[in-house]
C-alpha cells in the first residue's frame, strides 16, 4: 500500500489573534491533522512575499497565512496590507506553475480555536487533492 | 516611617496577586503564609476551568515572580501574633516558626528528603501520598527550601537519626533553630486566607471514610495531577484499577440546613466537577461519568459553553441528589439510586468510583485571626465586608482589607480580581499617607 500523500503546510500566524486562536484550539483539545508547521510573526503584515516563494522552493505543498479580522489588528491595519500582498502573490504563483489554491489567507481571532482547526483541515484536504508541490526538486 | 509598606496574610493565588500588584507599584510587601510554601489550594489542582489550563503552569510563574520580586519579602511557615495601631500605621508581630533548615543555604536539592527514613501522610496529597519528616510540600514549592516536621522527626521525638544533616551538601540543616518573633510596621493589611474542603462524612449516608472508593473531590484532583501520588493515573483506592464509571455527587454538606451542614452554595463545585469529568475523559475517552446535581450553576464567563462541551463529550448530568451510597462488599463497587425525572422511574447505577463535592469552607483559623486583627467574621468563618454592596473588599476595620474565598465563596478569576481590588484599596491608604506627607 503506497504511503498516502501527506502534504506539508507552512502556517504564518500573528501573535495577537491567529496564533492565540491556535493556542485556544490546543487549550480546547480540538484535534486536527499534524501536517502544519507554525511560524509566529508579530503581524500578518510582516509576511514578506519572499517568505512564501521560498517556502514553495523548499518544498512546502501549501502555505497558510493567518491574521486578525479587519479592525482587530493590534497594529491598526497590518492585516489589510497582507491581504493586498497575498492577492497579488496568487497571480504571480500561476506564472511559476503553482496552483493559487496552495496559498490561502484566513482571518482567525483569539477566540476562534475551532475555526483555526477547521481551516487547517480544509487546507490539508485541498492540498491533498492538488498533490505534491510541482516545484519539488527531484532527488 | 514604614508608611509605604503592606502586610498580606495568606499565600494562595489571592494573596500572591495582591502582593504582586502592590509590589509592582513600588510598595514593600510582607507576605505571610502559615504553610512551608506559598501556592495555596490552587497548587493542589490539576487543571482549572473553563480553559483547562494546567493549574501549576499558570500559578508557578506568579509564585516565582513573588519569590524574585525585590519588593516582596516571603515569610512562610509563619503566623500573625498581634496587630496594633490604625490605618496607615499598624505594628504587627509575626511568629516565624523554625524550619530547622537555613533558607539562605538550602538549594532545594531534595537529598535530605530522599534519605529521611520517616514517612508520614502528606497533607498536600490529602493523605493519599506520603511525605518524609523533612520535606517540601510539592515539587514546585516556593521557597524551594525543606522544612522539618517536629512531631514526626525521629531526632525531635526520640533524639536519634539526624540523617538529613549528614547528607545535606549545603550544610543547611540546623536543629538549634529557634522560633523568631518579627515586628513589622505596615500601612495596610490584606487578608487572603482561602479555603479548606469540609469533611464529606458530615453527610454520612454517602459512606466517605467507610467505603474505600468514595473520595472527596480535592483528593481526586491529587489523583489526576501528574505530580500527584499516582503520577496522574486515576486508580481506584480499593484495587488500583482504572475506574470506568464515575459518579459525582454535588452539594455534599452544602446548601444544607442541617446543624453540621453549610447553608450557602460554594459556587465552584458544579464547574470543577465538570472540569474533573473532562480530565477523566481525556485520560479515558470510554469513561462514563454521572454528575448528580440540584441546580447546575455555571454562571461565570465561558462557563455555560464549557458545560455544553462536557455534555457533547457525553457527561451525564442527572438532576437528582442520591439519598445514599451502597457498597457491594466483594467488588467494592458502589450503587446509587436516583429518580430519573425524564421517566419518573427510580433507577440504580453501579459505579467504580464516587466523588463527593463537599462544601468549601473558610480556613478554621479565621475566627482566631479575626480576634487578632480586630475584624468581624460570620458564623461560617467568612470575614464580613464593611458593606457587601459598595465596599466588598473592606473589612470592618479601616486599613484592613479582605479578598478571595475568605470573603465569600468564589472561583479563581474572581479571587484574582478581588485581590487586585484589595491592593487598590490598600494603595489608597498608603498613597494618601505618602501624598499627604
Amino acid at each position: 500500500m503506497g504511503e498516502e500523500f501527506e502534504p506539508k503546510i507552512l502556517v504564518f500566524a500573528c501573535n495577537w489573534c491567529s496564533y492565540a486562536g491556535a493556542d485556544l484550539a490546543g487549550v480546547s483539545r480540538i484535534q486536527y491533522p499534524p501536517n502544519i508547521r507554525i511560524i509566529r510573526v508579530m503581524c500578518s503584515g510582516r509576511v514578506d512575499p519572499l517568505y512564501v516563494l521560498k517556502a514553495f522552493e523548499y518544498g512546502a505543498d501549501g502555505v497558510l497565512v493567518t491574521g486578525c479580522h479587519p479592525g482587530d489588528c493590534h497594529y491598526i491595519d497590518g492585516n489589510l496590507k497582507a491581504e493586498d500582498r497575498i492577492r497579488f502573490l496568487k497571480e504571480s504563483l500561476k506564472h511559476i506553475g503553482i496552483e493559487p489554491e496552495r496559498l490561502r489567507l484566513e482571518w482567525i481571532s483569539a477566540s476562534e480555536g475551532d475555526k483555526f482547526a477547521r481551516v487547517v483541515r480544509e487546507m490539508v484536504e485541498t492540498v491533498k487533492k492538488l498533490g505534491p508541490n510541482p516545484l519539488k526538486k527531484e532527488g | 516611617m514604614s508608611v509605604g509598606s503592606a502586610l498580606v496574610i495568606g499565600g494562595g493565588i489571592a494573596g500572591i496577586q495582591a502582593a504582586l500588584d502592590l509590589a509592582d507599584r513600588g510598595i514593600k510587601v510582607y507576605l505571610v503564609e502559615k504553610s512551608p510554601s506559598i501556592g495555596g489550594r490552587m497548587a493542589q489542582l490539576d487543571k482549572t476551568f473553563p480553559t483547562m489550563d494546567c493549574s501549576i503552569c499558570i500559578l508557578a510563574p506568579k509564585m516565582n515572580e513573588c519569590a524574585r520580586h525585590p519588593n516582596i519579602e516571603l515569610l512562610t511557615w509563619s503566623e500573625v501574633l498581634s496587630v496594633e495601631g490604625e490605618a496607615g500605621n499598624f505594628t504587627v508581630r509575626i511568629l516565624k516558626k523554625p524550619r530547622y533548615v537555613r533558607e539562605d543555604l538550602c538549594t532545594g536539592c531534595g537529598i535530605c528528603t530522599e534519605k529521611c527514613p520517616k514517612k508520614v501522610p502528606s497533607e498536600f496529597e490529602m493523605g493519599l501520598g506520603m511525605r518524609k519528616a523533612i520535606y517540601m510540600p510539592f515539587p514546585q514549592a516556593v521557597p524551594r527550601v525543606s522544612v522539618i516536621d517536629e512531631e514526626n522527626c525521629l531526632y525531635f521525638q526520640k533524639g536519634v537519626c539526624r540523617v538529613c544533616e549528614k547528607f545535606c551538601p549545603a550544610g543547611a540543616i540546623d536543629f538549634e533553630q529557634k522560633p523568631q518573633e518579627i515586628e513589622l510596621k505596615v500601612g495596610a493589611i490584606i487578608v487572603a486566607t482561602g479555603l479548606v474542603q469540609a469533611d464529606p462524612s458530615i453527610e454520612s449516608e454517602y459512606g466517605y471514610g467507610r467505603y474505600k472508593n468514595v473520595i472527596a473531590s480535592l483528593e481526586l484532583e491529587r489523583l489526576l495531577s501528574a505530580s500527584g501520588p499516582t503520577g496522574g493515573e486515576l486508580k481506584r483506592p480499593s484495587d488500583g484499577k482504572h475506574p470506568k464509571r464515575i459518579g459525582f455527587i454535588q452539594c455534599v454538606a452544602s446548601r444544607s440546613l442541617k446543624e453540621n451542614g453549610y447553608p450557602y452554595c460554594s459556587s465552584v463545585c458544579c464547574m470543577y466537577a465538570t472540569k474533573e469529568a473532562m480530565i477523566i475523559m481525556e485520560h479515558d475517552p470510554e469513561a462514563e461519568i454521572y454528575i448528580f446535581y440540584i441546580d447546575l450553576r455555571a454562571f461565570g464567563k465561558g462557563f455555560q459553553e464549557f458545560v455544553n462541551r462536557a455534555k457533547e463529550r457525553g457527561v451525564h448530568y442527572i438532576r437528582a441528589k442520591p439519598s445514599k451510597v451502597i457498597e457491594d462488599p466483594e467488588t467494592k463497587d458502589l450503587i446509587i439510586r436516583y429518580e430519573d425525572i425524564n421517566d419518573k422511574k427510580v433507577k440504580e447505577v453501579r459505579l467504580d468510583l464516587v466523588v463527593l463535592c463537599a462544601a468549601l469552607v473558610p480556613t478554621p483559623e479565621n475566627k482566631k485571626l479575626a480576634e487578632i486583627l480586630g475584624i468581624e467574621v460570620d458564623e461560617y468563618g467568612f470575614f464580613k465586608p464593611l458593606h457587601p454592596l459598595y465596599a466588598p473588599v473592606d473589612s470592618t476595620r479601616p486599613g484592613i482589607f479582605i479578598c478571595g474565598y475568605c470573603q465569600g465563596p468564589k472561583d479563581i478569576p474572581e479571587s484574582v480580581a478581588q485581590a487586585s481590588g484589595a491592593a487598590a484599596r490598600a494603595a489608597e491608604i498608603i498613597a494618601k499617607k505618602v501624598v499627604a506627607g
Partner: protein, 560 residues
C-alpha cells in the same frame, strides 16, 4: 554579530503529562543534541517551576550557553518568565526562543503520538534555526503620564475613578449619557442588601463630583484614540466641541444593557408581559398595584444556542423583586419559572430561602419544553411543563415578567476598533487571560471592569473596578514602563528615501531624516514589521523577526 562560537541550550518540558503524555520527550532531547550549534539539551517535568528555572540558569553558567531554546507551551504566556530567567543568568533576554510543543502539538494530536513526536522535533529544529541568528537587544523606557481615562460612569467606572483619584492620579471620567450612574439610574433596589439604587448612585456621584482629581465629562463621545501605554491621545467630543486628553492608561467600564425580548413569550404583543427592568421601574414608582398573580420566566433569550452564556444576575434579580412584591402585597401569588436557579454564594442562597419562606413558588422547566404565555380570562395564562413533577400546569397571571440577559451595547464594536482591543464571541470585551489577568487587555495600558467584561452584579462590578484601578496604578505609579527592544532599524546605505515606509507605518514611527533617508523613532515603533516587508530595497531590518531569522525557520520546516 561577532563570530563568537554558537553554544545553544535546548530545554524540553514534559509539563506533567500535558506534553510528556503524547510526545516522547526523551527522544526529542536526543534529537535536539544532533542539531548544529546545540551544546546542551535536557528535559524536566515543569520547566516554568522554580526547579526548572534554576536548571536553565545553572546550565547557562556551566555550559557557557549564549542562546536558549525552551520547548514547552505558548510564548504568549511564558516568554516573559523565561526571558527574565535568562537575564538573571547574565544572558541578554532576546537571545531566547520558544518552541510551542503543547498547544500547537501534544494537545492537538493526542491520538497520534508518533507524528506528534516527529512534529515536536520539527518545531524544535525551527526554533533552534531562528535561535542561531538571534542578536542581543536592549529595552526602551517609555515615560508614563500619571493621568487615566475611565470610559463609562456606571458603578464600575465611578468606583475605578475614585480609587485612582484617591491614589493621587488625575482621572478623566467620560460618560456618553447626560448623567452619570449607568444601570443604577434604572434600578429600584440592589441585592443582597435591598439598598435603594438611588442612594448608592448619590453616594458615588457626590464622591466623584467632589473629588478634585476627577474631571467628569457627560454626553461625551470618544472620537479617536491614538498612541500607546503611557501616552494615549484621546479625542472626545461634546455638543460638537472637541478636546484632546493625554493619558497614561485607559479603563473600559462601558457596562451592558438588558436584552429587549421582542417576539418572545408575547412581549410587545400581549399586554401585561414586561421585563424585569420594567418591573423595577414600576416598583420604584410604586406603580405595581395589587396583582393577583405574577409569573416570572428565567433564561429568556439566554443559555440558548444563539446566546449560550448565563447572564448570572437574572435569578437573584427575580428573587429580589419577588420578595419585594410579596412584602408589598402578601396575597399576590408569585411564581418563578427557572431552568437552573443561579442563587450562588452565601447571600443569594439566604435570599432564595427567604423567598421560599414568603411563599414564592419555584417551578423548574427545561429548554426543550419552554413555558407558553397566552391570553387567559381576565389577564394572562402561562402553561408550563414542570420538569420534576412531569406534569403540565396552567398558571393564571396578571403580570408575566421576563428575565432577560445583559447584552453588550452596540458601542462595543466601535470602541473595540478605536482601542484595538478584541471582543469575545458574545460581544463582551475579551480580557488578556481569564484567570491570570482577568481585568487586563492583551494591549498594555488598557483595562476592563464591570459588565463590559461580562454580566455581573453591582458588588462584583465594584470589586472588579478596584482591580482595574490597581492594575492601571502600576505603570502610573512607576511613571515609566519598559517597552521591548523589538523595533525596526533602517540600513541607511540601502535606503533610497522613497518614504513608502513612512506612509505605511500606522504609528508614525518612521520619518525621513535630514540625510533624506528613512529613520525609525524607537519609542513609537511597536514592532509589527509591516515596513520591513514592504521596503522595495530590503533596507529595513525588523529586529527579533529579521528576514534571515524567519527564512531560517522556513527552511528548517522542510529540511528534516
Amino acid at each position: 554579530m561577532t563570530e563568537e562560537e554558537l553554544r545553544i541550550g535546548v530545554f524540553i518540558c514534559h509539563c506533567g503529562i500535558n506534553i510528556g503524555g503524547v510526545v516522547r520527550v526523551p527522544e526529542v532531547v536526543e534529537y535536539a543534541k544532533t542539531l548544529p550549534g546545540v551544546v546542551y539539551a535536557a528535559d524536566n517535568l515543569y520547566t516554568c517551576s522554580a526547579a526548572g528555572l534554576d536548571a536553565i540558569k545553572k546550565a547557562i553558567k556551566e555550559h557557557r550557553l549564549n542562546r536558549v531554546v525552551v520547548a514547552s507551551c505558548t510564548p504568549r504566556t511564558h516568554e516573559p518568565l523565561f526571558r527574565k530567567t535568562c537575564e538573571e543568568a547574565g544572558l541578554n533576554k532576546y537571545l531566547f526562543e520558544m518552541a510551542n510543543i503543547r498547544e500547537h502539538c501534544s494537545w492537538v494530536h493526542m491520538d497520534d503520538p508518533d507524528r506528534a513526536t516527529e512534529k515536536a522535533k520539527d518545531i524544535v529544529r525551527m526554533a533552534v534555526a531562528k535561535a542561531r541568528l538571534l542578536e542581543p537587544l536592549d529595552d526602551i523606557e517609555i515615560e508614563v503620564r500619571p493621568e487615566a481615562l475611565v470610559i463609562g460612569a456606571g458603578p464600575a467606572g465611578m468606583t475605578a475613578a475614585l480609587s485612582l483619584a484617591n491614589q493621587g492620579f488625575h482621572v478623566y471620567l467620560v460618560e456618553k449619557e447626560p448623567e452619570v450612574g449607568g444601570m443604577l439610574r434604572k434600578l429600584n433596589r440592589l441585592y443582597p442588601t435591598d439598598r435603594k439604587a438611588d442612594e448608592l448612585l448619590q453616594q458615588l456621584s457626590n464622591a466623584v463630583y467632589q473629588n478634585s482629581n476627577i474631571e467628569v465629562f457627560t454626553s461625551t463621545k470618544i472620537v479617536d484614540v491614538s498612541g500607546f501605554i503611557g501616552n494615549f491621545e484621546v479625542l472626545v467630543r461634546k455638543d460638537g466641541e472637541e478636546r484632546k486628553l493625554e493619558v497614561g492608561t485607559i479603563i473600559v467600564a462601558t457596562g451592558a444593557e438588558p436584552l429587549k425580548p421582542t417576539g418572545l413569550y408575547g412581549y410587545g404583543e400581549l399586554e401585561g408581559v414586561i421585563t424585569q427592568i420594567e418591573l423595577e421601574e414600576r416598583l420604584k414608582e410604586g406603580r405595581l398595584g395589587t396583582p393577583k398573580a405574577v409569573v416570572m420566566i428565567q433564561c429568556v433569550g439566554s443559555r440558548i444556542p444563539e446566546r449560550p452564556y448565563c447572564s448570572r444576575i437574572c435569578c437573584a434579580t427575580a428573587i429580589k423583586n419577588a420578595i419585594l412584591i410579596k412584602q408589598a402585597s402578601p396575597q399576590t401569588q408569585v411564581y418563578i419559572l427557572y431552568r437552573d436557579l443561579q442563587a450562588y454564594g452565601k447571600e443569594y442562597e439566604e435570599y432564595y430561602r427567604r423567598a421560599q419562606e414568603l411563599g414564592v413558588r419555584f417551578i423548574s422547566y427545561t429548554l426543550e419544553k419552554p413555558p407558553e404565555v397566552s391570553r387567559g380570562d381576565g389577564g394572562l395564562k402561562v402553561k408550563v411543563y414542570h420538569a420534576v413533577l412531569g406534569r403540565e400546569l396552567t398558571l393564571p397571571a396578571d403580570l408575566v415578567v421576563l428575565s432577560t440577559p445583559l447584552i453588550p451595547p452596540e458601542t462595543n464594536e466601535e470602541l473595540s476598533k478605536l482601542l484595538k482591543v478584541p471582543l469575545d464571541r458574545n460581544g463582551f470585551f475579551l480580557e488578556a487571560h481569564v484567570k491570570l489577568r482577568p481585568v487586563d487587555f492583551a494591549t498594555d495600558g488598557i483595562y476592563v471592569c464591570g459588565t463590559a467584561h461580562s454580566p455581573k452584579d453591582v458588588p462584583d462590578s465594584i470589586a472588579q473596578a478596584y482591580a482595574a484601578a490597581s492594575r492601571a496604578s502600576i505603570p502610573m505609579a512607576n511613571r515609566r514602563v519598559v517597552a521591548e527592544g523589538i523595533v525596526a532599524e533602517v540600513n541607511k546605505d540601502r535606503c533610497i528615501g522613497c518614504a513608502l515606509c513612512v506612509d505605511l507605518c500606522p504609528f508614525k514611527a518612521s520619518r525621513i531624516g535630514e540625510d533624506g533617508k528613512a529613520e525609525v523613532i524607537k519609542v513609537l515603533c511597536k514592532g509589527c514589521g509591516v515596513c520591513a516587508a514592504s521596503c522595495p530595497q530590503r533596507a529595513i531590518t525588523m529586529k527579533n523577526f529579521t528576514d534571515s531569522q524567519i527564512l531560517a525557520q522556513v527552511e528548517a520546516a522542510f529540511k528534516g
